[in-house]
């Protein structure tokens, strides 16, 4: 089997994209907090009643909260979790951790990145600066190594973290599955390199010539992308720069307690065929 994903014909619906994910799979989710997350894909995981997923993300918020709320998440490896944008802590995530329903591997954002780097670089562990004096390394059984060259301080090394899939919400994709992102890439680049496979939800598909006109701007080359879907507005209720900002009322509505609130929220996702 080839190490890359060749050819065209990678475009599927976001429903088919989510259907590629089995229960128990590990998913690195792109974006940060309420910004450019693969939220249409996340909601589709809920509709398809996935179970026991391992979520990997430096700064999840809405995504992990709704996955905890719907009972989809089994484990989280994360640096910082919050709704952000004035919404404070992620309430359903909090409950899931406090009740023990979901397992947490607590990281610094940079230690999670180090673990992803180890996977991306094909090495068993990755030194990570800082962490000295923190109780996080002990929680995770991380090791502190002396500098074998006797010049630097001792350094914490993070074991390789290789997600089954990196799932990215992109600005643009072409018919081959090349991926571009406007503004900061957050952690999407290292996630795409660390994961066994990359799934993409894009705001729109453009002709490959758009990519060829500026190949330096391509974040993920097509051969690393297994499949993609196009969902305009798919990062809702979060932002996707420069197309749209956070839909604050929608987030507020989502945070209302009760199953009906969740159902109502899911019903108006742009991928659901409903209207916002």
């Amino acid at each position: 089997m080839s190490s890359g994903f060749s050819g065209k014909h990678k475009r599927v619906s976001v429903q088919e994209l989510a259907a590629m994910v089995s229960d128990g799979t590990s998913l690195a989710l792109g974006g940060s907090f309420l910004h450019r997350g693969p939220f249409s894909f996340v909601r589709e995981l809920i509709r398809q009643k996935k179970r026991g997923l391992e979520i990997i993300k430096q700064s999840p918020g809405y995504d992990i909260d709704i996955l905890c709320r719907a009972g989809v998440a089994g484990k989280l490896r994360a640096g910082i979790v919050a709704m952000e944008g004035n919404f404070g802590l992620a309430p359903y995530y909090r409950r899931a951790i406090e009740s023990g329903q979901v397992e947490l591997e607590e990281h610094a954002c940079a230690s999670l990145t180090a673990g992803l780097r180890a996977a991306a670089f094909g090495v068993p562990f990755q030194p990570c600066g800082g962490l000295h004096g923190s109780e996080i390394p002990a929680l995770n059984g991380w090791k502190c190594l002396d500098d074998p060259y006797g010049k630097g301080d001792s350094v914490w090394v993070i074991p390789s973290i290789q997600p089954d899939y990196a799932v990215i919400h992109a600005s643009e994709v072409d018919e081959w599955g090349n991926v571009r992102v406007a503004g900061t890439a957050h952690w999407d680049r290292i996630m795409s390199r660390a994961a066994k496979s990359v799934l993409v939800v894009a705001e729109k598909e453009v002709d490959s010539s758009v990519f060829a006109a500026e190949p330096e701007a391509t974040l993920v080359p097509y051969f690393m992308v297994e499949a993609y879907a196009v969902v305009q507005g798919g990062a809702w209720p979060g932002s996707c720069w420069p197309d749209y900002e956070i839909d604050y009322p929608a987030v507020e509505a989502y945070l209302q307690p009760g199953d009906e609130s969740l159902a109502a929220h899911l019903a108006v996702g742009p991928e659901a065929g409903g209207s916002k």
Partner: protein, 244 residues
């Protein structure tokens, strides 16, 4: 003449005063007040600094001030995107001059708990987590933090969990400014409407107060800059900062 100084303004202005000319200064996620402090410093002070943020912006000119401190408008008109891996690496290689980091609990050495209230394995309150601090606090040249309330639940002798060590250079609350001195947080100044006694009473750890006095009132330019940034008072209302 400023006869009253709101807790909100006190925090933002005093965070801004930690910013030094030409230094690389970073504001991150979940950090509305430091974001405002950085934007204020750009307006209120003559000397410029290098402002980078978690949205990838480098000296941005945002068209609006966002509610989310990681909002992409914070990269508007930036001439480069300095992405997440890049600013963390900058910090771990010792070239982040100043970073702002949140903290739920702070001890007398300036270490932080962002992880949990109660036992980590049986949390009473699960907090946001390791975030930037565990790596940035020990590696940034200076790190400063803020709390929107000042109490012995926050300023503690013993953290419930030590998420980040290394010690803050500075801490701002609605009533006080602490700075690190000889490895401990020392009181630098207190809100003009507060007092040394009040700060002592509301702080769970012992601190040196040598040389401390009332905080110098905001300058006209500081007041004016903050008024521009929060023209309709939304940020002040949202922050819900009370002196007491």
């Amino acid at each position: 003449m400023n006869t009253s100084w709101s807790g909100f303004s006190y925090i933002v202005v005093n965070l801004a005063r930690f910013i030094r000319p030409n230094e690389i200064t970073f504001s991150g996620v979940n950090s509305t007040l430091p974001m405002l402090a950085c934007l204020l410093a750009k307006k209120a002070y003559d000397e410029d600094f290098i402002y980078i943020n978690v949205a990838g912006g480098v000296d941005p000119r945002p068209s609006q001030v966002p509610l989310s401190s990681s909002d992409p408008v914070l990269a508007e008109h930036s001439a480069s995107i300095f992405a997440n891996e890049d600013f963390y690496d900058l910090c771990t290689r010792g070239r982040m001059d100043l970073t702002f980091l949140g903290a739920a609990q702070i001890d007398g050495e300036g270490n932080a708990n962002n992880s949990v209230i109660g036992d980590w394995h049986r949390p009473k309150v699960r907090l946001p987590g390791g975030g930037g601090g565990a790596v940035m606090l020990p590696t940034a040249r200076r790190a400063c933090t803020w709390r929107t309330e000042h109490s012995t639940r926050t300023f503690v002798e013993q953290l419930h969990f030590r998420t980040s060590a290394g010690g803050f250079h500075g801490v701002v609350t609605p009533i006080a400014v602490f700075v690190k001195r000889d490895g401990r947080l020392a009181l630098q100044s207190w809100h003009p409407e507060s007092s040394l006694d009040e700060v002592r009473q509301r702080t769970g750890f012992k601190f040196d107060s040598q040389g401390a006095g009332p905080t110098p009132l905001p300058t006209e330019r500081e007041v004016h800059a903050l008024a521009e940034l929060d023209a309709d008072g939304q940020f002040e209302r949202d922050a819900k900062v009370a002196l007491r």
